[in-house]
Symmetry: C2
């Protein structure tokens, strides 16, 4: 597995089964590499083609004059063994085997063929992503080794998603355009011939581009190995376990050839290994974004500061449901708030900043005071922006931008929930997102993300 | 309360406290009326102004030559009583009292002033929305009687939101731009001087533009009256109860002057009255959208049809957690699916249509067969679209559009979860939304919306 860094960051890539025909996966893999602006050498391999995607093609990988570090294979299953032998002889460092038709089939011939693949790979010490995968994307390296060119459009960030389902990878990736999560890598493990979750966790634990590891798991053959890798890793790991229901479990067996197994056992194992469980696609993305962009939550004492009372109340409900508490402020902070806010609304935690609607300085003054309060571990800040309070948004934006350069640096997470109509407002709001704070669209999601930081903290304390 | 139809659909509106000064609420109310293209007469009222928003102003509402049906009042609290007397003498049919500073104050003078307001209103038989409200928007009538001009940008549809919190109304309204919910009205009740939830439910039950009534409740003085109104109404009602936690409950009392009260009691009462409870902002919007656009779910037997196995498995997990079941298909349907799909993947419910990736006709054939299956009450259809399968999207769009004109009409809900990268894809996808089907962004949210249809069905059966 020492070849994995070369597999994910190769200096040259061959596409075996490359094609100019839109109906072939090899067409889309070429599109991903070219449109994704991969900077290394690209070698299309196709027995017939002279040029594919305007790049010189070769009949076999063994005809390529230079070295090939990564081979992406999209040929029919019956050709896979021969192609892998060629890859071995060519000394490639790793393979993405997109081809399907192995262990996921009802026909036992599929599993037998996958076993042969595994043996050839072992003989040549070839790490294989797949088979039965869409591939992977390595965003900081501008390498889209998948059949989905749109993965190159994803935002770069510190989240690595490792998934047993290509469908889930696409769902998460595409959903992240709205949720504004930045990825280092998205990797589809497919049938996990010899690169499985533990190998990926070990690799990503040492990947400088990755800050958070997110796993989508249907079923595993050797869960213990994952747990050991997770304990070794010094980065936050979150996991979404599918196949929790009876029908889902049946489906999992067909899909990836593994029994999904008893969900309770997975839950216990995740806890032991310090893996934070999530149970919803959007939650996975929100929590990954929060872990990637915020400091750890030191305790469970949260301040709710809301420009409108209703959303503040909702945040309280959701925060308490997460095991968070709303402490009283220290007398100094409370005095400061009482100076700033008239007694028109609730001034204790949760603070209703409604009366400060037209006074951006008051809002920012309260946030600044509460952030310094020793009774407070994290802040939920909620505001609704429309044409009447544009000034508040601008002042808040400036405060949040300046906040990054505070000395000493504030090591408390601030999660903001902003609601605004479309058009210019959202550009202004997104300009604040991930600048040391995280923006989420509802009070409940903001509170749940804060709750996840707290659960992660508890897992780490228990280790 | 027989004046409520005039209050919500007035032929003329006076804005008392209208202003040309951006810092005043009366400026923003004028902006909402003018930019919202209200078709009736607008009378700005301001002792100083000759013209406000280029419209002739009057010093008092009593100086207006014609009739005034609705008065929107945005003056300081100490002037409110005098202004209401003037409104009474002018025979207005209803008032939106935006002014704050009444029962929501800690100072008992606030509650006393509100009681005086109530007495004046009773004397003149004046229904009052507020005080302490942003107002309301009546979208099919192009009347934005609020201080937030952006409410005019909301999509028109059958959902009426009645909210005790202006912040929540703004949150929901602005969030709906993403969630694509269509509204008939959004009404901020504020302190509920004499128009409270029961009055609104009675009015909306007879409002031809409203198909679904959504309530955001913090606390009520007379919950029984709401339950009676809910039982009378022949439209689906959903409710979100805030102030469920200890801190949230405290905050509620300050915010609207009502004790939020014991959450369990509300839960039981909702169930008795056939009101479906929701517990999350996005869920409220998803469920309202589903109820507004789909036929009732006749039973709890759901088919999961997924272009990718992983999201299908997630939908199964989420559906079972909602009390939905995944039945076997009738032999006829199963035979048809076996004809259409090769044995490469799971062909029973949940159907993995992965092998049909490049064959739009197969996908559509399966959906059409399953929709006719007598074992199936509702359908969750999941698909991920990217450049490789544009054809599938187009064929599916055509199928869903044609589906509306099927004879006999299909009375089974279909909820679709589509994931796609930005740009053109989403325009194509949204072109399908609410055309007899509802599109939601994740399998979990699709399954939860289907679960809500089932809970609503059970509530109706229990009545």
């Amino acid at each position: 597995m020492e070849k994995l860094p070369k597999l994910f960051c190769p200096s040259s890539v061959a596409v075996i089964g490359a094609s100019n025909n839109f109906g072939k996966l090899g067409y889309h893999v070429m599109k991903s590499l070219v449109e994704g602006k991969y900077q290394g050498e690209i070698y299309p391999i196709n027995p017939r083609g002279q040029e594919i995607w305007s790049i010189r093609a070769y009949a076999s990988i063994e005809d390529v004059p230079g070295e090939v570090e990564l081979a992406i294979v999209a040929v029919p299953a019956q050709l896979a063994l021969r192609v892998l032998e060629e890859c071995g002889r060519k000394s490639v460092k790793g393979v993405v085997l997109i081809t399907a038709g192995f262990r996921e089939l009802e026909d036992p011939g599929g599993a037998a063929l996958q076993e042969e693949i595994r043996e050839v790979a072992a003989r040549w010490s070839l790490p294989i992503i797949g088979p039965n995968t869409f591939g992977f994307v390595n965003l900081p390296f501008s390498l889209n080794a998948s059949f989905t060119s749109e993965f190159s459009l994803l935002e770069k960030g510190g989240v690595a998603l490792v998934s047993q389902s290509g469908g889930f990878s696409h769902l998460c990736g595409f959903r992240s355009f709205d949720q504004r999560v930045g990825f280092s890598k998205i990797v589809g493990l497919g049938n996990r011939c010899n690169v499985d979750f533990p190998e990926m966790v070990d690799y990503l634990a040492n990947d400088p581009d990755t800050q958070v590891i997110a796993l989508y798991i249907e079923g595993m053959d050797e869960p213990r190995r994952l747990l050991e890798a997770a304990k070794r890793a010094k980065k936050p790991i979150i996991a979404y376990k599918a196949g929790r229901s009876e029908r889902g479990d049946d489906a999992s067996r067909f899909h990836t050839g593994s029994l999904a197994g008893n969900y309770r056992i997975y839950q216990g194992a995740f806890r032991q290994a310090g893996i934070l469980e999530v149970s919803d696609t959007e939650e996975l993305l929100d929590v990954a974004k929060a872990l990637d962009n915020l400091p750890p939550l030191g305790g469970n004492r949260v301040a709710v500061l809301s420009s409108q009372a209703g959303p503040g109340m909702i945040a309280c409900d959701a925060a308490e449901a997460q095991g968070l508490t709303l402490p009283s402020f220290t007398p100094g902070t409370q005095d400061r708030i009482n100076e700033l806010l008239p007694p028109l609304a609730i001034r204790t935690n949760p603070v209703d900043m409604g009366p400060a609607w037209y006074s951006p300085e008051v809002t920012v003054g309260i946030v600044a005071a509460v952030e310094q309060d020793s009774n407070v571990d994290g802040i939920l800040f909620l505001a609704t922006y429309a044409s009447a309070n544009l000034a508040l948004m601008k002042t808040m934006r400036d405060y949040l931008k300046d906040r990054k350069s505070l000395k000493p640096r504030l090591e408390k997470p601030l999660i903001a929930c902003f609601a605004a109509p479309p058009a210019i407002w959202w550009e202004e709001i997104w300009a604040m997102d991930k600048e040391g704070v995280v923006v989420l669209p509802t009070p409940e999601r903001a509170a749940r993300a804060m709750g996840a930081l707290w659960r992660m903290r508890q897992l780490k304390l228990a280790e």
